[in-house]
């Protein structure tokens, strides 16, 4: 099973985080339509992998969104859209969906993140059981038409569209990057700047 359980520092254990990676996805239109129609079976963060640098970059966004969820100050409909918005460096939500979200006809490599909060108590007499890792994976495999791929830095880096990332995170003409000769170093520094840009979102 290629659905990974993410363990992040400073996240309550009652919150379960899962992430998967699909390459060469062919049904972005269908998945996008499910999000638009607010289909409750498709409560996932669908992230276009071409705008993502690394795992650290990805989980930074996941952490920010979960922090906002814990705080109760979501600015978007749910924690999953909040993850996509967290990848942005400004507060333009539509922009964030366009750049980091799933886009029909464009998204080929897709990262899926699922946040399972603890079941809310005392709502009704029928407490809905949180879905298991296996159930989530089954559902994803059924509906995402693509190649399940391990969510590793080396796999992610193959999907990264650097000109796009540089534009989104304003990394062109940055003195701290231009002085670096080593490509590997430059990527490390770009990742830092991207995470910093996200941390300073809207300031």
């Amino acid at each position: 099973m290629a659905l990974e359980k993410l363990e992040l520092e400073h996240v309550p254990t009652a919150y379960q985080l899962y992430a998967g990676f699909f390459r060469d996805v062919t049904n972005a239109e269908f998945l996008h339509a499910q999000l638009l129609s607010r289909n409750s079976e498709f409560e996932y963060a669908f992230i276009d992998a071409s705008s993502v640098i690394s795992r650290l970059h990805l989980v930074s966004a996941v952490y920010s969104a979960v922090n906002v969820l814990l705080d109760g100050t979501l600015r978007t409909p749910n924690v999953h859209s909040e993850i996509v918005v967290s990848l942005n460096t400004n507060n333009n939500i539509a922009d964030a969906y366009r750049r980091w979200g799933i886009t029909p006809g464009k998204t080929k490599d897709l990262i899926v993140v699922k946040v399972v909060p603890p079941p809310s108590p005392a709502q009704d007499e029928t407490p809905t059981q949180p879905p298991t890792q296996l159930a989530i994976w089954d559902h994803l495999q059924q509906h995402v038409k693509g190649t399940p791929t391990p969510l590793t830095d080396s796999e992610l880096s193959q999907a990264t569209d650097w000109p796009k990332v540089r534009k989104y995170y304003r990394l062109n003409g940055v003195p701290a990057l231009d002085r670096l000769a080593d490509e590997q170093e430059r990527r490390k520094h770009s990742e830092r700047l991207a995470i910093m840009g996200m941390a300073l979102r809207g300031l």
Binding site: H10, T13, L56, R179, I195, M196, A199
Partner: protein, 276 residues
């Protein structure tokens, strides 16, 4: 320990589980600094927390905390983009009053200098130390140059620190220094240890009072504050401050005029207007 923990409750974010418990590193007038981890267990970070002040009106308090954290983060990002050695910001929650940033390894410049000076005989004791051997002192002199260069790089980007002291600068060991030093040791282990204490890259920290300014006056005051702090923290190394200024003077175009301004500031003190 337990007493201090009940006295100062940690921010809510630190009450959630992590691979290692956070530790309180230091406490200032406005905030506290914890060492903890960011996202994964092997990524240490510094968490700066500005707790709510019970003596302020809650709305004003929240607004002040938020703006101060935000301005500190903005200054750090600006410096980082320009290549000034400062910690990177990892994640922040201005409303909750905390910010996680890069953990800088090593020790403060203050500790490095004192370690270096510690093994020297007291100057007052023997007259022969009146004439220091230049070659002997080279590692310390070089540190002064590096500090001058770091402050110069900071000022060049249009940021003044606001609280420059040798405690607000870290000496981060170079990653490759381990083997390089190791192979050339052997002759005199003591000298090598001392050289190590003042070696490494200077990283400026604590931008809680930093502001964006390009004026000679503000830059000169920044240097003046450092000069005074330096003289009182390291009286025996005071004469080396000239080296720092000399190195600063060559870092950017307007640096020489800042040094001229520094003369004025020395004459009258930190405050230009005697108000407040």
């Amino acid at each position: 320990m337990a007493a201090t923990e009940t006295q100062f409750p940690p921010p809510k974010v630190l009450t959630y589980p992590a691979s290692a418990p956070p530790s309180l590193v230091t406490q200032g007038a406005e905030g506290r600094l914890y060492k903890t981890t960011h996202l994964v267990p092997d990524r240490p970070c510094a968490l700066k927390y500005r707790p709510p002040k019970p003596y302020r009106h809650p709305i004003l308090d929240a607004r002040l905390t938020k703006t101060r954290l935000a301005s500190e983060a903005k200054v750090l990002e600006r410096c980082w983009r320009e290549g000034v050695p400062v910690p990177a910001v990892y994640v922040m929650d201005p409303a909750a009053g905390w910010m996680m940033m890069e953990w800088i390894d090593g020790h403060p410049v203050r500790v490095g200098i004192n370690e270096w000076l510690g093994e020297r005989p007291e100057e007052e004791g023997e007259t022969e130390t009146e004439t220091p051997k230049p070659a002997d002192e080279e590692p310390l002199v070089d540190l002064m140059r590096r500090v001058g260069a770091a402050v110069g790089a900071l000022h060049r980007t249009g940021v003044v620190h606001g609280d420059l002291t040798t405690s607000n600068m870290m000496l981060r060991p170079r990653e490759d220094a381990g083997q390089a030093n190791g192979s050339t040791t052997g002759v005199d282990g003591v000298v090598d240890d001392k050289a190590k204490a003042v070696g490494g890259d200077v990283v400026l920290i604590d931008f809680g009072l930093a502001t964006q300014s390009m004026s000679d006056e503000d830059r000169a005051v920044d240097l003046y504050v450092l000069e005074r702090a330096f003289a009182s923290t390291h009286p025996r190394a005071e004469r080396l401050f000239a080296t720092l200024l000399e190195s600063y003077g060559s870092t950017f175009k307007k640096a020489p005029s800042v040094l001229v301004k520094l003369e004025d500031v020395r004459m009258r003190g930190r405050k230009r207007s005697m108000l407040g």
